[in-house]
Symmetry: C2
Subunit: 151 residues, 2 copies
DNA sequence: ACTTGACCTCAACCGCGGTTGAGGTTGGAC
DNA sequence: GTCCAACCTCAACCGCGGTTGAGGTCAAGT
């Protein structure tokens, strides 16, 4: 009873995490640099990821797939607890927020689709009054550089 | 009756086009380099845009807003006639295709939202069988470099 | 004729989301 | 103890969608 099991029993190397998540190692290192995931280091400086990291990575990829920029994903992930392993309630809280964002996003797309149909379909092609041209929603200009805006 | 009006009566300078479309001149030049719009040049090498270019630009921006990459927009615009000024039917054809893409896109988002709710909500957090992790839709990997994939 | 602002090109740079490769260490199996 | 795959860092590069700035020309008004 004195040989105290090391906690790494459930930890994954970067290769394992990559295989399980389908995300390239280079991307995982990149995510770590960006503060989206974190790892413990072995005495030999190798990464060891805790089990819940797989979940985080899945969440990151799923979010990205709908066009959410990494910075926004990082913010969202920040609601997860620091020291403790996130539990179901933590993830539920996270996904609830995401659900709202997704709904907003979906509504925007629907609006655009309807405008497109209406506007071109009706032949109003005068852009001054066209819903297509004057899309009411402001999409945060936020400085120069590429737009990005998460679609 | 002999002073034959010059055709530039309805042409716009880049500044005018920029003002009317709200798109920076730098972006308009960029679009031209990328083959999304085109211009006539004056004897002094200045650009003159035909009237329908305003429409093209509006279309480009609207498309971008929903996350469609410029390359895809260029392809879509290729269905417009070369010599002739595009008429209503041309634009309608274009927008019909877009409407379908938008619908597909919207459905993808809805699916993700529902998966998220179900998956996290139900506590199934085992990623192996999770819809979040194993999103069935293939999103065209197409080579290395940034994903892009138009969201 | 001259000024002034709008236009031109070209090259360099930006943020994003990574990949690639060189050169060096680690660690598990034999 | 030695081997080799798997890991490490760091710097450079990629495509995308542009912006910025230097240095030069054009055209409309006085």
């Amino acid at each position: 009873m004195t040989h105290h099991l090391s906690p790494r029993a459930k930890e994954a190397t970067i290769g394992e995490l990559s295989d399980r998540s389908g995300v390239p190692q280079s991307a995982l290192r990149f995510y770590e640099r960006q503060g989206l995931i974190s790892s413990r280091r072995t005495s030999g400086n190798q990464r060891r990821f805790s089990r819940d990291t797989l979940r985080r990575v899945a969440f990151i990829r799923a979010s990205q797939r709908v066009g959410i920029p990494l910075a926004a994903i990082r913010e969202a992930l920040a609601v997860l607890p620091e020291g403790r392993t996130p539990n179901r309630a933590d993830w539920a809280q996270l996904s609830e927020g995401w659900r709202k964002d997704l709904n907003t996003h979906i509504r925007r797309l629907e609006r655009l689709r309807d405008n497109l149909t209406e506007c071109i379909g009706c032949g109003c092609l005068s852009l001054d009054k066209c819903a297509l041209a004057n899309t009411d929603d402001r999409l945060g200009e936020r400085g120069p550089g590429a737009r990005g805006l998460g679609v």
